[in-house]
Subunit: 112 residues, 2 copies
DNA sequence: CAAAAGCGAAACCATTTGGTTTCATTTTAT
DNA sequence: ATAAAATGAAACCAAATGGTTTCGCTTTTG
């Protein structure tokens, strides 16, 4: 009768994943090339383990994948999930593309 | 000689601001209209104070502004900071726009 | 004027986050 | 066969996050 709490592991989404500057840099570094954790760590003032945990979060969000090569584990950028962000952002395109909207808001707020 | 700790107040950027789903909803609700805190709170299962704190964070990121109207404080969407996100995201456009890049990566990783 | 509405500030709390160090495991190099 | 390299897992910690309740201030309404 083991009643050890179900222990729900909180998944990360793409919005949370890119919220951290270190993780954004990691994505940047992985553009056009696979890199192992140790190499990536060289670019940050923190331990390899910390970088590893950031990679894990990126992985949960689907933004990187890994493949074992010998004793290395090479990480690769997986940009597809960024499309969700792109779509979210596209909603606000009206504010820049459509000058009429700005005018509309101006008129509407002018009720003095 | 007042030596009261500088008290650095951690500013929030646009990446952190949109990381929270409640805050993304708030932005959504403010599209094309100003709304006071109480009205906004009606859309969430949390206290007015909690919503107020989310608005504060959005404000720090420059995503909303407020103006006092009587005893109300009306919040308005300020989409400009989203351009930073847009620019950041644009960097990865190559992955979708340029099919040649996919090929390039494929070839480069084939060094067996 | 007194009550109510609208709101932020403050104090408080549990959980998450971002980091650390230590340890065990797998794979390569001597 | 050992030693070293590469790495994730685990335990731990301080600070940030996301929420609450209480309080006080300003403005409107009756």
């Amino acid at each position: 009768m083991s009643s050890v709490k179900p222990d729900k592991q909180q998944q990360h989404d793409v919005f949370q994943a890119i919220a951290d500057p270190t993780r954004r840099s990691l994505l940047q570094l992985l553009v056009d090339r696979e890199l192992p954790v140790t190499t990536l760590t060289g670019h940050f003032p923190m331990s390899r383990t910390a970088v590893s945990k950031h990679l894990r979060i990126l992985s949960e969000a689907g933004l990187v994948t890994e493949r074992k090569v010998g004793r290395e584990r090479r990480y690769r950028l997986e940009p597809e999930p960024l499309l969700e962000l792109k779509r979210w952002l596209a909603f606000y395109d009206r504010y820049w593309d459509n000058k009429l909207d700005a005018l509309k808001r101006l008129v509407e707020s002018d009720e003095s």
